[in-house]
Symmetry: C2
């Protein structure tokens, strides 16, 4: 690997994502990407006695699925890199209790999936590991009661508020071939432009997303159209518009090849305000929708950003603002079609056609 | 770097800790290591309006101090690697808001300092960065009210309970020379032997500590006496005894060259139960006591373990147990005396003598 510019690391040895899997809630399954996900919950408890434990079980399920797809045993995984939205990242910790591999805990709020992918790329590229499981998850009910309103009070969706995705996603980063290549990682700075409303996550995160996109392009000397797609994690429609605006102010035009996972995951009739948010949002969209598209050369090169609002309820009640962060990884097709990425049936159908998606408008 | 055994990474390019700094509360200053720390708080608020913001300010202070010691400017730092005990690691995030470097958030509870050091070593060793600031912090009052009892209820110390250290520590990992060498990192597995009492952190963490020590020795093919000192982060006297016992059961004898930062940081007259805990504990002891000892060849090789209890109050109230983790880094003298490590006056006095320390008995 080498240091590229200020915040970017370029990989030399082509670490690859060789498998990916996802699990989602009913609402996400009913959205435009529903058919892409590997597994759907019957209800929010997922056969557990609490929402927190449901999130743990979702994580266990998705790890097993990603391994099964490429016939890897647990003991062939060197490291687990993960974090989630529950305090002390317990969904990840608890899922890792029964897994015979070292665990590195990360916290980047909803940027965690991409932070984990980037770190995994770095470790595999450097020769520190052969196979790494990177994963994250979020759960609507467990998140709401921790961050915002007791669930029994119900929930309202002003146009700028987003809904936390119930979803778990995982990817195996490996020195094996046959998957999707990680070419660069750009880690983001903490950006805080003073937004203090814990319901306006998209607005809080957009400046961080714009900052990391611009930094990545500067560090790599690329123009935005180098990528077939630049996609952010969970800005929703408010944050997406703001990001386009902030980039345009800096002379960077991205309308045609820019989208957001939080916009894609629901449709307008689902009453979810500005779209999806939560660690699981970019994780399941990347694992089950974006990666298969790359596998089938619908995209050749994409830049995926995880976007995190580092909201802390205690300090928020003290009147403080919400610092945000965005990390990016550049993904590239290797021209191969055989791998554990996405769903087998989806990969088959993608070989001939690609769906038209609507998303939140 | 190369993969060594199951969970260890050996560094090729000698990443070094070239500067370290610490800040502590009054209680820690009054302990046996008091004179080693760079800065002491006048009171728990540290001129801020809340304990959480005091912890942010402590972090800012200690980052500035570590840079000042080696005359590095903020823009010479490539990455910040950090986490802390506050939910959403806000002490670290908020301190990083005004820092012009990318931020990678980590969560390993009280193992965070060593997780950060290990990751920093990996990034510098791989050529991804020149200089990295690794840091963490904890604050007694802010931690207690988040994890356990409202502070107004007061606090009792049964013999097995530990006191959260008010302290912030930072280290600069660099490809420059003249400091203390990072030779290997061993990342730990999540270990959960079923302890569910949130006051018995030492007991919960000891099995993880023993597991990582044994794994490190197996991966490197070393015996425990390869190290002048093996030291855990914050097991306190209960966890320390248990670790010795667990290791002995596996035929690994460590009595003579094993200690614990949580035991060293307070003395028995301070009424702190079993000793110190919290992210800040291993951070300030390593930054300001251990590293200067290595610089002056009082120790040549030490193995430092960060030990984390991944306690989540919500899931704990649901009757769940406390998974734990321990990460290790091996540190080695380079024979150099010039650096920003520890306090200048301490380094001077260490050149001729070494203190006899009592600690919690």
């Amino acid at each position: 690997m080498k240091k590229l510019g200020q915040q970017t690391i370029q990989f030399d040895n082509s670490p690859q994502i060789i498998s990916s899997a996802s699990i989602v809630g009913k609402k996400e399954f009913e959205g435009p990407l529903g058919e892409y996900f590997d597994q759907v919950l019957k209800d929010a408890y997922h056969q557990q006695k609490s929402w927190e434990l449901a999130q743990v079980k979702m994580t266990e399920d998705v790890l097993a699925k990603a391994l099964e797809k490429v016939s890897l045993a647990q003991n062939e995984i060197d490291y687990l890199l993960a974090g989630d939205l529950l305090n002390q990242i317990v969904a990840s910790n608890f899922a890792a209790r029964n897994f015979p591999a070292a665990f590195l805990g990360l916290y980047g709020a909803c940027s965690t999936m991409i932070e984990a992918l980037a770190m995994a790329g770095l470790m595999v590229d450097g020769g520190a590991a052969n196979n790494i499981l990177a994963f994250t998850s979020s759960h609507y009910q467990a998140t709401e009661r921790q961050f915002r309103t007791p669930n029994e009070y119900g929930d309202k969706y002003p146009s700028y508020k987003q809904r936390t995705v119930t979803g778990g996603g995982t990817m195996i980063v490996s020195n094996q071939t046959g998957g999707v290549k990680l070419t660069e990682a750009t880690f983001g700075k903490i950006v805080d432009l003073g937004i203090a409303n814990p319901q306006d996550m998209g607005g809080a995160m957009a400046p961080a997303a714009a900052d990391t996109i611009l930094q990545h392009l500067e560090d790599t000397g690329r123009s935005p159209n180098y990528y077939d797609l630049i996609i952010t994690g969970d800005l929703g429609k408010v944050g997406k518009s703001l990001t386009i605006e902030l980039l345009a102010e800096q002379g960077c035009q991205v309308q045609d090849n820019y989208d957001d996972c939080g916009v894609l995951i629901y449709n307008s009739s689902q009453k979810v305000g500005a779209g999806g948010s939560g660690c699981g949002c970019s994780a399941v969209v990347t694992a089950s929708y974006l990666l298969p598209q790359i596998m089938h050369n619908n995209y050749d090169k994409i830049l995926v950003l995880g976007t995190g609002a580092l909201l802390n309820p205690t300090i928020s009640l003290q009147g403080e603002t919400i610092p945000s962060i965005a990390h990016a990884v550049a993904l590239e097709s290797t021209g191969h079609l055989t791998s554990g990425i996405g769903r087998e049936d989806i990969r088959q159908s993608l070989a001939t056609s690609i769906e038209d998606l609507s998303g939140v408008e």
